[in-house]
Amino acid sequence: MSTVARKKSLIWDYLTTVDHKKIAILYLIAGGFFFLVGGLEALFIRIQLAKPNNDFLVGGLYNQVLTMHGTTMIFFAAMPLVFAMMNAVVPIQIGARDVAFPFLNALGFWLFFFGGVFLNCSWFLGGAPDAGWTSYASLSLESPGHGIDFYVLGLQISGFGTLIGGINFLVTIINMRAPGMTYMRMPMFTWATFVTSALILFAFPPLTVGLIFMMMDRLFGGNFYHPAAGGNTIIWEHLFWIFGHPEVYILVLPAFGIFSEIFATFSRKRLFGYSSMVFATVLIGFLGFMVWAHHMFTVGMGPIANAIFAVATMAIAVPTGIKIFNWLFTMWGGNIRFTTPMMYAVAFIPSFVMGGVTGVMNAAAAADYQYHDSYFVVAHFHYVIVGGVVFALLAGAHYWWPKMFGKMLNETLGKITFWLFFIGFHLTFFIQHFLGLMGMPRRVFTYLPGQGFETGNMISTVGAFFMAAATIVLLINVIVTSVKGQKAEADAWGDGRTLEWAVASPPPEYNFAQTPLVRGLDAYWIEKMEGKKGLTPAEPLGDIHMPNSSILPFVISLGLFIAAFGFMYRTEASWGLAVGIIGLLITLGSMFLRSVIDDHGFHIHKEEVLEAEKGVKA
């Protein structure tokens, strides 16, 4: 078999892979690693705040940990984990053999990865960024050392990766759907990925612009944000939040998508109000761009802007509410199985509703003057991002684990993880609403005794340890499963509705031996209900055209990684400029190679496919 002949070492295989399933695993591992790092940083924060006047982590160092916690969790944990789910599932859900641009898919991953590694190098090279994940211009320009430079350059590199990934999924979903898979037959997770990708396309460029301005100011003597020289710091806030608010939806729409799949599967019912769900997703995506200034109510934009953004923000509650009720009514009349993914999905509803309603409270501009930059806001966005996104990622990981790795995660351990995480989450963040209302500002490294903050902070810290314990159990589960997990069937949960459950777990390199014909929403469910074993093929069995793997995505990203170091040390080290240029040459050279070398890919022959399929069936 030629697939065996092409097999090289495992590491080389993953460094060069362009297969969306392997890239999904890369995203999962890298995102999971950064999730652990960000989680550790969160624990440090909570330990410092456990009691008043604590001296575990003070002043500047605390600010570094706080900045890195936010930045890591958003850009290097949540985003890649979302991409892991998208990569693992979306191409199969639409009946495709891969994404539209497999090479770019790998490039997107490696750019993200090197961006994250670059940012975290700051810990060992003089200190991490310390101006918050929002990195507001006046403070970040004042910040000494290279911390902010790491932030600015690292996020630019990984931002390219995300943008590439977003475009790739847009094209994939528009162009690569199997015959019969009309837009209104796409699974909800695919829809969410589609809208999310569009959001990425429009949201990341403003961030890039903001970052480039800041890079110019910090490294090349620019004045974009220096008021004394005619610059303006508020521009950064606008650019950041024009990206930053849609970013929330970039994370939470896929989460909604994951839950939509899980609710339908484990209620054994089709998604209630599918078309209104699609409509709501698109509407949320659209409104997501209209509300960024609600992060800036206290900046002094004046009552007209504040009022407009307040009302626009409230409007988002309507499509979100539609979704909540649709999920509830998906379960209504269903046959609900409480598997681990379903437990997360069920717990998500009350948790996310809490985060949603405090969002509406924050939208009331006049009252937000009190909430803004207080622990109330900290509680709010953790309810949205943990109660929504992290729950979804944990749910999705348990749900699609058998599909990705061919083994079922242990359900008992999964449920222990769930309960620890769920209890810990509410313990940590519920009380923070009240801390904020009682006058505790966010991003403080300590507080004085006698202000009424002691009990609340202690409870919050205890909760954080529950979540840490949950994470440890999850890791144990992963290890135990990989050693002696139960092998998963194609339809691993027995109730799969979408195309990914029709192919083997893990799927073969080419996903589908024959491109399937899609005859309606929940294509696999339809076939099963008609008593068929497999999908209806849309083409005769033939040779399958596959893309070649390539080391170039890795090298292109590595070049930028090297260049970033060079330009950062340009003014203080003699080698700086040279290294910067070498790095860029590596990148541009690899891009040149990619352009001139014809890569026609290869074919998996019909006979090999037949043989492989027989192996699966047997």
């Binding site: 507001y136 109000g273 002094g300 409480f338 009252a367 003057y369 006058g439 004085l448 009424g452």
Partner: protein, 355 residues
């Protein structure tokens, strides 16, 4: 009839919530114990929004619990395939329209309050009413300056204002962005490096008494290593007392009698006066005012905004400012002082009183 019932329910929900929340926090700090017109307005908006939101949560929870209990898989149902329902237009319209109505109920008072809170016309009149109190707030890396332009006086760290009337503020920052927040009295506003912001607050006399005469103020925007320590205090006074205070400030001069304090004064005039003024009437431009005005230092309630006000803490602060407030701008600007010098300086600073 039904509407009345709903109102009644909302009202009782309101009062229960108000009771619950009022137990939260300290009267000198908590937004839940509003101490003035602005905080009141914001508190009512909080209550209204919380009431609506609790209503939403209750509805969702009831359906949620019912669904999860009623439709869980039971023994013998493992094979059962439920009816595949597409959706329901009626239901979908219901849960689209009702939230819209709820949001309108919230949006109207929100917009109205937003405009009321931004009404700063009286401070910007060409000829300002002479009773209108205006304070220029300047936020600096970890300290606050309060200038009263109409009286020509400046103070730092402790804001003094008249009660039961609107006080107007000009807000700006001199280095990085900060945010001016007195939680019990009203929501915050940023002090930008680019422009001047304006807003007003009102300090209620009764609430001031309840809070013990002093409110806590906070910096609410991450501004550097000592962001958490950038506190200030607010002393609201009845109008007559406030006017008296202003007169005293206008005429205040350091009076040093003690011999140790005199020594301290000499050290101060050599090492500190370049940045710190000791008279409330400081005619230097704001760029030259790079440190807090100390004219009424002896009257203050905190050292460096956070430590208890006593000689021991003052010595600690003078000896090693970074151990108290990391990243402050004072450390390293006045050389090493001997313990005797620090003692003398402490005596002198503590003698700077206006009251």
């Amino acid at each position: 009839m039904k509407k009345w019932l709903l109102n009644w329910r909302l009202f009782s929900l309101f009062s229960v919530m108000a009771l619950l929340l009022a137990g939260c926090g300290k009267p000198f700090l908590s937004t839940l114990q509003p101490a003035g017109e602005v905080a009141d307005m914001q508190y009512s908006l909080m209550l209204l929004s919380t009431a609506i939101m609790v209503l939403v949560i209750i509805v969702v929870t009831i359906i949620f619990v019912y669904v999860v209990v009623r439709f869980r898989q039971r023994k013998g149902e493992e094979k059962k395939i439920p009816k595949q329902v597409e959706g329901s237009h009626t239901l979908e319209i219901v849960w689209t329209v009702i939230p819209i109505i709820l949001l309108i109920i919230l949006a109207v008072p929100t917009v109205s309050a937003t405009f009321k809170l931004s009404d700063v016309k009286p401070m910007n009149k060409e000829k300002r009413d002479k009773h209108t109190v205006v304070v220029n707030v300047r936020a600096n890396l970890y300290w606050w300056e309060f200038e009263y332009p109409d009286y020509g006086i400046i103070t730092s760290q402790e804001l003094v204002v008249p009660t039961n009337e609107r006080v107007y503020f000009n807000l700006k920052a001199s280095d990085v962005k900060h945010s001016f927040w007195i939680p019990a009295v009203g929501g915050k506003m940023d002090t930008n490096t680019d422009n001047k912001n304006q807003f007003w607050l009102e300090f209620d006399q009764k609430a001031t008494d309840k809070a013990g005469g002093i409110f806590y103020g906070k910096c609410a925007e991450l501004c550097g290593p000592s962001h958490a320590l950038m506190d200030f205090k607010v002393k609201p006074l009845p109008r007559a007392d406030f006017d008296q205070w202003v007169e005293k400030m206008k005429n205040a001069k350091p009076v040093v009698t003690d011999s140790v304090a005199k020594e301290g004064e000499a050290i101060f005039n050599k090492s500190c006066i370049g940045c710190h003024a000791v008279s409330p009437v400081d005619k230097r431009p704001e760029q030259a005012r790079t440190a807090p005005n100390l004219a009424n230092f002896g009257d203050r309630t905190r050292i460096a905004g956070i430590l208890d006000h006593n000689e021991e803490n003052l010595k600690k602060w003078l000896k090693d400012p970074n151990s108290v407030k990391p990243g402050n701008k004072m450390a390293g600007t006045y050389g090493n002082l001997t313990d005797d010098q620090i003692n003398a300086l402490t005596k002198y600073l503590m003698s700077l009183k206006v009251e």
